[in-house]
């Protein structure tokens, strides 16, 4: 039988607010009040630093970034520094990893496979590069990955560059990788008219790979899950 999954679309949202919502949903999943979840979001420009972050990979001062309107957040995922901003679809999956009989390694590879399926839909061949996570096209990264697991439940996930401001990536050493640039669907000549199309493709591929089926979400746009 397929595993129930809810789809929560936060649309464009400040990273911190979206993070708080993710935490509320995580709590619900942990207490088995909520089904597993996929969360979509596009963030205001932000650099997030994971558990393996090296501060020297941030190439601008906090003051300069403030002027550029880019915030910095410390997050509880694995991985080094990365950028999120408008035009990039951030996808978090909150799943009870033991239910799927998956190892974390297989899980990451599955997320990459889903993104490669989406790229194939647009006629682009995504690749994995040995020793580096994420999805790459011509040695440039199009999707970055980073997850955290608490109580056997995953958090965070994968971010796909659709049409972000790629100049923002030059302010960091993305994921600590010096040799290899960053790309986007737009840079590869693909105009995505509606980001919802990518979300639908993701859900379709996710359901296929993880044997999940969509159920009514606990959070809808405009709902308040917490007191700010």
């Amino acid at each position: 039988m397929p595993i129930a999954i809810q789809i929560i679309d936060l649309k464009r949202m400040d990273y911190r607010r979206a993070f708080i919502i993710q935490e509320m949903i995580y709590q619900g999943c942990d207490e088995n009040r909520f089904p597993d979840a996929i969360i979509f979001q596009e963030n205001d420009p932000v650099f997030t630093m994971g558990r393996s972050s090296d501060i020297t990979h941030l190439l601008k001062s906090e003051e300069e970034l403030h002027k550029l309107g880019i915030h910095i957040e410390i997050v509880d995922r694995g991985g080094d520094i990365t950028y999120h901003g408008p035009g990039q679809l951030v996808i978090s999956a909150l799943i009870h990893i033991r239910t799927y009989a998956l190892t974390v390694h297989q899980y990451l590879r599955n997320l990459e496979e889903i993104v490669m399926g989406i790229l194939a839909f647009y006629g682009i061949q995504g690749q994995r590069i040995e020793g580096k996570s994420g999805v790459w096209v011509n040695n440039e990264k199009i999707a970055a990955i980073g997850i955290g697991v608490t109580h056997g439940i995953t958090r965070h996930g994968i971010a796909i560059n659709i049409d972000p401001d790629l100049s923002h990536f030059t302010y960091i050493v993305p994921c600590g990788i010096h040799d290899g640039g960053v790309t986007s669907l737009k840079k590869l000549g693909v105009e995505v008219e509606n980001i919802d199309e990518i979300k639908s493709l993701f859900i379709k591929e996710f359901n296929k790979i993880f044997n999940t089926a969509e159920v009514e979400p606990v959070w809808k746009e405009g709902d308040v899950l917490y007191e700010s």
């Binding site: 558990r51 694995g78 974390v104 390694h105 996570s133 997850i147 697991v149």
Partner: protein
């Protein structure tokens, strides 16, 4: 009774699992399900929880150590320390 805390099976396949941060000290009381220690790989952060309530009596690895799947990393004992 003493219980071993092990690196969970689902972490398998992750290359180089490193102990990142102990969240408790030896002698601390811990509750079943509480996060005891955080481990990381290059892209994954894993919170390893304590399997039973009791007292953390021994840490077998230090922050920065590389660990293997199923490796025993800590010992939890009953409140009495047995």
């Amino acid at each position: 009774m003493k219980v071993e805390v092990r690196v969970p099976q689902f972490a398998e396949g992750a290359t180089k699992i490193k102990i990142h941060l102990w969240l408790f000290e030896v002698g601390d009381t811990v509750k079943a399900g509480e996060n005891l220690v955080e481990a990381t790989t290059d892209k994954i952060s894993i919170n390893i929880e304590t399997p039973k309530s009791g007292v953390l009596v021994e840490k077998l690895v230090e922050e920065g150590d590389t660990v293997l799947i199923d490796q025993v990393i800590a010992i939890i004992a009953d409140e009495k320390g047995e």
